[in-house]
C-alpha cells in the first residue's frame, strides 16, 4: 500500500498556508483530502507523539503515527554501565510504572547471573509492583476520561494516585522514578507503619473504583463514544504483538503472571479479566459488587480495553493484600560482590507491566558491563496497530482509540 512519508508531506501544498483573502477562490474551501498534524504538541496524544491524519471532512482516511521525539537511546546507556547503574534508566522507560520496569530488569539480570533473592525482598517487590500497577491504571483511566471530554474523573484518579505516591515516598523517598527495586532485592527495607497505612489505603480505594464505574464506565455517552469503536480482533492483536490489557480486551486470556509465572506469582491467587461481550460479567474478587458489561460493547473495542484495566485494579488490590499477609521479617537484599561479573551468555525475559509485556534481552560477555541490552517496550507494539485501527474512523475517534491503547512515549521511543 502507498505508505505516507514525510517526503510526501513536504510536497503536499498546505491548502491554507498562503491564504490571501483576495486571491482565494471558493473551490479551495472544498473539504477534499486534507493533511492534519495531530501532535507533537496536542492535548490528547499522551506525550510527544505526532499522528499524521489524512482526513476527508470529519472522516479520517488514514492515520500514521510518527514517533522518535522522546528517543534517548537508553539501550546505548545499557551497553556502557553496570546493570545496577542501568536501573535508573529503566525508571524512565515507562515513567508511570517505574517499579514494574525495575522489577523486570532485575529479574532478567538475576536469572542471567543466577542470584538467589531473599523471600522478604520478593514479597516487597510484588507488593510495590502491584501498587504501581494500580497507580498506572489510575492515570490511564483519568486520561481516557479527559480524551472523551469528561474532566472530573481525571481529578478523582489523581487524588487516589496521590495516596500511592505517599506510600512510595515513605518507602524510597521518590514519587515517580523510584529505583527502589534493584538487582538482588530492594534498596531499603519498608519503614515501620507502612503495612497498616497500605491496608488503610486499600480499604479506602476499593469503594472508589466502584464510584468511577458509576461516574464514567456506565455513562451512556461514554459507552456510545467508546463502545464498538476501534475494534481489534484476537488474531490482529497477536499478529501486531499487542500485549497486556490491549491483548486481554480482545478476548485472549493471557497474562505472564499466570501463563509464564515469575517471582512467585504462582503462589498468589488472582483472576485474569478479559474483554467480554454485552452482558458478560468479568471475574471480580469477593466483596466487590459484580460489574456487568453494558449494551453496545463489543469484545476488543475501546470500552473493553478501558474496563479490563478497571477490573485489573480490583485484582491488584487483592494481590497487594495477599502480599501484605505474606510479609515475613528477613533480609531485604542478597549479598552481592562489589562488581558483579556477568557470565558469557544471554537471556530474554519478559515481565507483565501495566501496559503489556516489557522484555529485556541481556547479553553478557564476562565483563561487569553487558554487551547488549535490548528493551522491548509494550507501548511500542501497542502503538503500531493505530494506523490499522484508525482507518475510516471519525476525527473524534482517533483520541479515543489512542487513549484506550494507553501508550507512554518514554517506552515507545526509549
Amino acid at each position: 500500500m502507498a505508505k505516507l512519508t514525510d517526503k510526501m508531506v513536504e510536497g503536499q501544498p498546505d491548502l491554507l498556508a498562503d491564504l490571501d483573502a483576495e486571491t482565494l477562490a471558493t473551490d479551495d474551501l472544498l473539504t477534499e483530502e486534507m493533511l492534519v498534524n495531530m501532535g507533537p504538541q496536542h492535548p490528547s496524544t499522551h506525550g510527544v507523539l505526532r499522528i499524521l491524519l489524512r482526513t476527508d471532512g470529519e472522516v479520517v482516511r488514514e492515520a500514521t503515527p510518527h514517533i522518535g521525539y522522546l528517543h534517548r537511546c537508553a539501550e546505548k546507556i545499557g551497553e556502557n554501565v553496570a546493570p545496577f547503574q542501568f536501573i535508573p534508566t529503566t525508571d524512565r522507560l515507562d515513567y508511570l510504572a517505574a517499579m514494574n520496569n525495575n522489577q523486570t530488569f532485575s529479574v532478567a539480570v538475576e536469572q542471567l547471573v543466577g542470584i538467589e533473592v531473599p523471600e522478604r525482598a520478593v514479597t516487597i517487590r510484588i507488593l510495590m509492583a502491584e501498587l504501581n500497577r494500580i497507580a498506572s491504571h489510575l492515570v490511564s483511566l483519568g486520561a481516557y476520561g479527559l480524551d472523551m471530554g469528561a474532566f472530573t474523573p481525571f481529578l478523582y484518579a489523581f487524588r487516589e494516585r496521590e495516596r500511592i505516591m505517599d506510600l512510595f515516598e515513605a518507602a524510597c523517598g521518590a514519587r515517580l522514578t523510584y529505583s527502589y527495586i534493584t538487582i538482588g532485592g530492594v534498596t531499603m527495607d519498608l519503614p515501620d507503619g507502612f503495612t497498616d497505612a497500605c491496608r488503610e489505603f486499600l480499604e479506602y480505594l476499593e469503594p472508589k473504583i466502584h464510584e468511577y464505574n458509576q461516574l464514567l464506565s456506565y455513562n451512556q455517552i461514554f459507552i456510545k463514544r467508546a463502545g464498538g469503536v476501534g475494534v481489534i480482533s484476537a488474531a490482529d492483536a497477536i499478529a501486531w504483538g499487542l500485549t497486556g490489557p490491549c491483548l486481554r480486551a480482545s478476548g485472549v486470556r493471557w497474562d505472564l503472571r499466570r501463563c509464564m509465572p515469575y517471582e512467585g506469582y504462582e503462589q498468589y491467587d488472582f483472576e485474569v479479566p478479559i474483554g467480554l461481550p454485552q452482558g458478560g460479567e468479568p471475574p471480580v474478587p469477593p466483596g466487590v459488587p459484580q460489574p456487568r458489561v453494558p449494551r453496545g460493547v463489543v469484545v476488543g473495542d475501546c470500552w473493553s480495553r478501558y474496563f479490563v484495566r478497571v477490573i485489573e485494579m480490583y485484582w491488584s488490590v487483592h494481590l497487594v493484600r495477599q502480599a501484605l499477609d505474606r510479609l515475613r521479617p528477613g533480609e531485604h537484599k542478597a549479598k552481592l560482590p562489589r562488581s558483579l561479573k556477568l557470565p558469557v551468555g544471554e537471556i530474554y525475559f519478559e515481565g507483565e507491566n501495566p501496559r503489556g509485556q516489557l522484555g529485556f534481552l541481556v547479553i553478557g560477555d564476562g565483563s561487569p558491563v553487558p554487551s547488549r541490552v535490548k528493551v522491548r517496550g509494550p507501548s511500542f507494539n501497542n502503538l503500531s496497530i493505530t494506523s490499522h485501527v484508525c482507518r475510516d474512523c471519525l476525527l473524534a475517534d482517533v483520541p479515543a482509540i489512542v487513549g484506550s491503547i494507553d501508550i507512554v512515549m518514554g517506552e515507545v521511543d526509549r
Partner: protein, 184 residues
C-alpha cells in the same frame, strides 16, 4: 515441546537452512542462514507442531570482535483456549549472522505485522537492511526501511559499537568541546 525437540524438528525439515544450534542455556536458539530465513520463519509459524504465533521481539546485536551483526528473533507459541487461561507452549529464538559491512536479510513483516516497526528500528539503530519491507524508501542510503526513531536525514547508526556521535546536527552542537562552524 522442549528446545532440543524443536531443533530436531527444524534440522529434520530444513537441514540446509540451519547453520548451528544452541538449545542448552537460558536462551535456546538456532542459527539460520540469511538467505533461507523467510522459509524457516514461515515453517516455524505454520507448522502444526510448532505454531509460533507471536513474534515477541526483533533485536540487532553488534559484535565488532567477530566483525558481524546478528539479528535475534524471539518467538513464542501460545496455546489458545476458549474461556480459561491460554497456555504457553514453548518459546524459542532464531539468530542470523550478517556481514557487518552490508547486512541484508529478508523481512518477515508479511508473516507478523509487528515486525514492521521492529525492523524499521533495527535498521534505524544498526543499519540492517530488511529486503521487501513494506515501508521502504529510497534515499542517500539506497533502498531501506524508513527510520523510525532518529530523524530521516540522520547519518550513521547509533547503536553500532564504532558509532561516533556527530559534532552538530542542523546547527545544534553535538559535543561540548567541538565548537560547530558558525551557521551561514
Amino acid at each position: 515441546m522442549t528446545a532440543e525437540e524443536i531443533t530436531a524438528v527444524l534440522e529434520q525439515e530444513l537441514a540446509d537452512a540451519i547453520a548451528g544450534a544452541d538449545s542448552g542455556g537460558m536462551h535456546p536458539h538456532v542459527w539460520v542462514t540469511a538467505v533461507r530465513l523467510h522459509d524457516v520463519m514461515q515453517f516455524l509459524r505454520d507448522d502444526s507442531r510448532l505454531q509460533f504465533n507471536m513474534l515477541r521481539c526483533v533485536s540487532g546485536v553488534d559484535g565488532p570482535a567477530s566483525n558481524e551483526i546478528d539479528v535475534v528473533y524471539d518467538l513464542l507459541s501460545m496455546q489458545p483456549a476458549v474461556s480459561e487461561l491460554w497456555r504457553a507452549r514453548h518459546a524459542f529464538a532464531v539468530k542470523v549472522r550478517l556481514d557487518r559491512a552490508n547486512p541484508h536479510v529478508p523481512s518477515v513483516a508479511d508473516l507478523w505485522p509487528t515486525a514492521d516497526w521492529h525492523e524499521r528500528e533495527a535498521y534505524d539503530l544498526f543499519g540492517i537492511v530488511f529486503d521487501g519491507h513494506p515501508d521502504s524508501i529510497k534515499d542517500h542510503d539506497g533502498l531501506h526501511p524508513q527510520r523510525i526513531l532518529c530523524p530521516d536525514d540522520w547519518v550513521g547508526y547509533p547503536l553500532r559499537k564504532d558509532y561516533v556521535f556527530p559534532d552538530e546536527y542542523h546547527g545544534i552542537p553535538g559535543k561540548l568541546e567541538a565548537v560547530p562552524p558558525g551557521p551561514g
